[in-house]
């Protein structure tokens, strides 16, 4: 959705890094197979992780093969071959993309709206195909957007509540990855916390923009009456994100992974925290630049 769910590359083993890249390539090709060229351009780390997690908990062993790619036609690289996890992740990506575009159309500025209007026709057919295969998910995603809009319209100042729709959507999405009752409980909480993380991470990322443009942001609203500086609000938001990430670390220990444990652990315990740190660092640098000039 936003690319916050990623690996912490420097701590990955070479083999894990290759497997992760192969899943990334596999998902890209799957998007092409299922939906065509436009869909391939929406490839993101978030859904690569979803595919990796689905494969990690599945019984079925994923297959890999060295394949060429139009981006790099000379060199063949390992690529994950078509399987259920990739198909599902691709469908999911298209359904959520459609909802995101719908959401952007409502609450963004003129220029962005224009861009979204141009993109929408390309996303419509993939959405219809995916929604036909996953009607339940399409319905949930619609409800999630509606619930999110209602909260934002009401000016919800409670961070937990604001994150709830995304959290619940991902909770349901991850629960579906397993049939084992215990595993489903762990996946459910992992999904809840991951959705919460993604939503709050986006809120942290948009903090300054929302402040300038007067957009909805739960962290701004929570601290509205306290007279805090921008840096203090950022630190407060970072605390909420760190708390969420550390809870994910606990869930991660309880997942029964058949394979890719190194990748899953890397993302949940290090990668997510890395995303938060990266955003914080970027904001600090931007601020320094503004002061310097």
């Amino acid at each position: 959705m936003f690319g916050y769910v990623r690996t912490f590359d420097s701590e990955l083993k070479i083999g894990e890094f290759r497997a992760y890249k192969a899943i990334y390539c596999g998902l890209c090709k799957q998007l092409g197979r299922s939906f065509g060229l436009f869909a391939r351009m929406t490839l993101s780390y978030d859904f690569t992780f979803l595919a990796a997690l689905a494969m990690a908990v599945a019984e079925e062993e994923p297959a890999f093969e060295a394949q060429g790619c139009m981006c790099n036609p000379i060199k063949k690289t390992p690529c994950c071959l078509e399987n259920k996890a990739l198909c599902d992740a691709a469908d999911c990506a298209m359904i959520l993309l459609w909802e995101k575009l719908k959401d952007d159309l409502q609450d963004s500025g003129f220029v962005k709206k224009l861009g979204v209007r141009l993109l929408r026709p390309f996303a419509r057919r993939p959405y219809r195909l995916a929604a036909a295969r996953r009607p339940e998910l399409a319905r949930m995603a619609q409800e999630y957007t509606a619930a999110q809009n209602a909260l934002e319209k009401a000016g919800c100042a409670d961070v937990d509540q604001a994150a709830e729709p995304t959290a619940k959507l991902l909770s349901a999405l991850l629960e579906e990855l397993s049939r084992d009752e215990k595993q489903r409980r762990v996946l459910g909480r992992t999904g809840y916390l991951l959705g919460r993380f993604i939503y709050l991470c986006d809120a942290l990322d948009d903090l300054e923009d929302d402040q300038k443009a007067g957009g909805y942001n739960p962290f701004l609203l929570r601290n509205a009456a306290k007279g805090m500086t921008a840096e203090e609000i950022r630190q407060d938001a970072k605390g909420s994100l760190y708390l969420t990430v550390s809870e994910l670390g606990l869930c991660c220990d309880l997942l029964q992974l058949q394979r890719f444990a190194g990748i899953i652990n890397n993302v949940l315990c290090l990668g997510l925290k890395g995303s938060v740190d990266q955003i914080m660092e970027r904001k600090k640098q931007r601020e320094r630049k503004e002061l310097g000039v």
Binding site: D160, R189, R196, S240
Partner: protein, 201 residues
């Protein structure tokens, strides 16, 4: 039973010292202190039991003499201090959060004491409402600063807010000092101490 060496993630050729290290690392990871109020605490408990059994099994096998060894029974009792809201605590401990929350919210504002805020925080935490959990635990601590249970819950979350990863229970001695108020924890500590320090020999 599954291969005890596999459970601890060690080779059957590993030395006793390596096995002890692996056992210690896993016991820290799944220690009940890390999962207080966590809706998945029972799974962590199962995992802990599996690890304990695997360690016992290996040690039993290695002792070759077929004696039972010091095997304590696993008691799974929760809180034992006096509580005004024992029914609510029971519901939370058995994972019935919705019912617990209904009871909690039904308590009139005048009767909401420190324990009420602590339990409200526990329900929020279980739901994944982490920020509200922090503010409720904070309130509980303000109202009853002497209570170790409330303090431990708040400190754990504040530490996570600060550091971005959960504080593993630390070494056995440490745990011993931190929270003796919980029978379950105390049992595990005793278990760790006997295993780690005396190695079951």
């Amino acid at each position: 039973m599954t291969d005890p060496y596999k459970v601890l993630g060690v080779s059957p050729n590993a030395t006793d010292e390596q096995i002890k290290d692996a056992y210690r690392a896993l016991a820290r990871k799944y220690h009940p202190d890390n999962f207080v109020d966590n809706p998945l605490s029972d799974l962590a408990g199962e995992k802990m039991q599996e690890i304990n059994e695997a360690y016992d099994e290996i040690m039993r096998q290695r002792r070759s003499a077929a004696q039972g060894g010091p095997q304590a029974s696993h008691s799974q009792s929760g809180y034992y201090q006096s509580s005004q809201f024992s029914d609510i605590r029971r519901l939370i401990n058995s994972g019935r959060v919705n019912e617990a929350e209904e009871l909690i919210d039904g308590i009139p504002a005048a009767q909401r004491n420190a324990e009420w805020y602590f339990l409200k925080g526990s329900v929020c935490y279980t739901r994944g409402w982490l920020d509200q959990a922090v503010s409720n635990f904070t309130r509980a601590n303000e109202m009853d600063p002497a209570n170790q249970e409330y303090k431990a819950a708040l400190n754990q979350l504040l530490w996570q807010r600060q550091n971005g990863y959960a504080q593993h229970a630390g070494n056995a001695q440490n745990v011993m000092c931190n929270s003796c108020c919980d029978i379950c924890t105390a049992f595990y500590c005793a278990n760790c101490v006997t295993r780690c320090c005396c190695g079951g020999f």
